[in-house]
Amino acid sequence: MAGKVLTITSGKGGVGKTTAAANLGVALAMRGQRVAVIDADIGLRNLDVMLGLENRIVYDLVDVVEGRCRLRQALVRDKQLAELYLLPAAQTRDKTAVNAEDMVRICDELRESFDFLLVDSPAGIEQGFRNAIAPANAVLIVTNPEVAAVRDADRVIGLVEAEEKGPAQLILNRIKPEMVQRGDMMDTAAVIELLAVDLIGIVPEDEAVITAANTGRPVAFSGNSLAGQAFHNIARRLLGEEVPFLPLREPGLLNRLLRLVRAEGGDER
């Protein structure tokens, strides 16, 4: 059966697209899927460092497009997972080196050998984004519970629908349960209601994501971190399993009382 192309995009930069692509690639491959992660961020490649594969790159996506190598030669195999491959972006070119038809053609060829192709889109809504969604069977939108990120996500959801790639599904990344409890961060329900979109995952803010990026070993490799578990849950949902969303910490009695007192007082902010 031909593989499925999932494009991960967001509009706004820095919300965790590449982290999500790397971790979903790892989580799906750990579940026995044949996965290729494709870095579509030409000129600003980062998926290679997230996966710790930066020293193994010989050819890249633009080399494939311009015929300097065969597609197979540009694929970099993961150090640990035999079924996980990276197709790196070019670092010294720009987004005009690739067009939407190139992406469709490359993905069509890869579909034959993989179960999942995860395309890591660049930020923004221009050519690079259009290239990234062109081959998609489904689109995952990453956002954070912040005004600017949600606004950009809404714009991108509209564009994805206009391209008939919808309905997009949402990954709400970097949620901080303590701030939600204090009323200082939008909760999942609020973001979902504003964006009118289906949720596929909630990933809590987790320092382990930063240490994982430091070492080039995504959090999904170990089941110890909350973020790692959250990405595995998304992978399971992508495979059609019904998985309940991770319980973010419920407010304790003391916190609830404090909140009540603060709310009544009203002078703190």
């Binding site: 949600v150 961060m185 909760d187 609020a190 504003l194 009544e264 007082g265």
Partner: protein
């Protein structure tokens, strides 16, 4: 201030609630491609046109955009200058 006053005062919205309210407005305008500044411009022009024919309370004029499930609309609320003196 005594403690009862303190308790009775309306609760300040949390920053999360403020974010949601701001997003509701900004997404409505983004989706319709009607920037809020355009409404101000429309308002000024509506005031100018209507004032030529009817006496209106310009400070009270409101032009808002609303989005419903089936239709979206611009609503102009134009209070007239109340003519109390006329009846006396």
């Amino acid at each position: 201030m005594n403690i009862l006053d303190h308790l009775r005062r309306p609760r300040k919205p949390s920053s999360s609630e403020i974010a949601q309210e701001r997003l509701r407005l900004v997404l409505t305008h983004d989706r319709a491609n009607i920037p809020p500044g355009l409404l101000d411009m429309l308002k000024d022009e509506i005031i100018a046109v209507i004032s030529r024919h009817v006496s209106i309370n310009a400070d009270g004029v409101q032009v808002t955009y609303t989005e419903g499930p089936r239709e979206s609309r611009l609503v102009a609320d134009i209070p007239l200058q109340t003519g109390r003196r006329r009846n006396r």
